[in-house]
Amino acid sequence: MTWQTLANQLFPGGHDIAEHDNFLSGSGQVDGQTVAVIGTTEHVPIGIEIALAQAQAILQTVQRHPGRPILILVDTQGQRLRHRDEMLGINSYMAHLGKCVDLARRRGHAVIGLVYDQALSGGFITSGLIASACYALPQATIRVMGLPAMARITKVPEERLTELARDNPVFAPGPENYLRMGGLHAIWADDLANRLAEALASADPADGRMALGQDRGGRLLAQPVAEAVRTGGHVRPA
């Protein structure tokens, strides 16, 4: 889905989102309220410029529109793989973006992520995954890296990974698996404006993804382990 089609479905009340070098920013009207929007398009790799532009848009929203909800539209093939980005500390630019989102959340902004096309690895950690809740469209692609590359690095044969990826949410790409793992709150199949309004109303500043992953059977140990460490108890897997 193009970002224009998406924006029109999300904001039937109108929007002024503009695209500049694959960076999306603006605002939209949903359910009688204004929502700040930042995002990316055309699978653009997240380099230092885009991360900084997104952070700036978040900080401006915090300064000029206290409390205004923020929607992060995710479409990226991951972090940009260039020497210059590493030289200038792309990890710092991404951390900065993540910290800006976190500050906004703590100051009362509901922050929602929506993967409408692709979400890979580093580009996803400080966008959708740092939001209060992350959602995806059914046709979205979400993964850490492709199975051939994963096979090279882990030295596990690609055939074996392909086999595991059929029914194992830990390896398999796609929104259904991230939903089972608790990484996504829900998949939005229809009436996007209504879904967005519901998500804004229910946004919880606490991170409940481990519990979601346990309830949905995709990540059985994370919640028990974190809880055992926290309380000094033992691990009782679900």
Partner: protein, 299 residues
């Protein structure tokens, strides 16, 4: 001098914390291993590559974690991440004096791809929760495997990053970039270039690490104690003012380095005299030369 780089995670903990004071949560005897490695016929570890617990540092109750680079590169899987998150949440429950993170990690453990990716984002949020509870979070980067990927991002969510020159802090490793975009883009066998680009001196000069120490456990410990005291004298939590300053710092960095291809050019632009000599200097000599020119100014 006792090298920090050469120690394992289990050796670093007693070297950093007050002797005999560290209590490990969910220790190896609990036999909690990754649920995902066996099906790939990959080895497991009874601590899943990370030690978490609570000890005394300079007599104060400080929570801590140490990643073991010798087990799958210190990578973050489901259990590894959950241990870090549980420790950070407990630090908040018990109002810890500070949290010390001994980071050595390649980032997301690809064998647990999706679980690892989500776990790293949970670690980041838990670190920022601790800071919001006004608990200083200090990251130490000085292990042989460096600090990359999602943990490279996480490190910069700490209040303070303390590095040695030998430590490396970045996002994608040189091999990954070379594989994606060719040896002309980043020659991973050019070790001098790799260290110029990701090593502690460069990160210090850019302002991405706040303290550079020699590769010595006592120096790391002293720097951690000092950083914690300094953070506690102010506030550990994120502020709009602080993030606006960081926005300026990062924007200026982009602007001022336009067209500069090599870290040596960046150092020259920062005003470092004789930048080509920087890689050869020992830490003390480097600090004397570099501190006045560090982006972001003195601490």
């Amino acid at each position: 001098m006792s090298s920090y780089l050469e120690l394992t995670a289990r050796q670093r903990i007693p070297a950093l914390f007050d002797p005999g004071s560290f209590e490990e949560f969910l220790p190896p005897s609990a036999r909690i291993v990754s649920p995902h490695l066996a099906q790939l016929d990959a080895p497991v570890s009874f601590d899943d590559g990370v030690i978490v617990g609570r000890g005394l540092l300079g007599g104060q109750v400080v929570f801590g974690a140490a990643q073991e680079g010798g087990f799958m590169g210190g990578s973050v899987g489901e259990v590894h991440g959950a241990k870090l998150v549980g420790m950070l949440r407990r630090a908040i429950d018990e109002q810890a004096h500070a949290v010390l993170l001994l980071l050595e990690s390649g980032g997301v453990r690809l064998h647990e791809a999706n679980a690892g990716l989500i776990a790293v984002s949970e670690v980041m949020r838990a670190m920022l929760d601790a800071r919001a509870a006004n608990i200083p979070v200090v990251a130490l980067v000085g292990g042989a495997n460096g600090c990359f990927g999602g943990m490279g991002i996480s490190a910069r969510c700490a209040n303070t990053v303390i590095m040695s020159e030998e430590g490396r802090l970045a996002m994608s490793g040189p091999e990954v970039i070379e594989t994606a975009n060719g040896v002309e883009e980043f020659d991973s066998r050019d070790r001098a270039l790799v260290w110029r680009t990701t090593g502690g001196k460069h990160r210090y000069l850019l302002g991405d690490c706040q303290v550079l120490v020699p590769d010595d456990t006592a120096a790391f410990r002293a720097a951690a104690l000092q950083a914690i005291a300094e953070i506690r004298a102010g506030s550990a939590s994120l502020s709009l003012e602080g993030l606006l300053e960081e926005q300026d710092l990062l924007a200026r960095r982009l602007r001022d380095t336009a067209g500069l291809p090599d870290p040596v050019d960046v150092w020259r632009q920062l005003g470092v005299p004789d930048p080509a000599a920087v890689p050869m200097l020992d830490t003390d000599a480097f600090m004397q030369l570099a501190a006045p020119h560090r982006a972001g100014g003195p601490r």
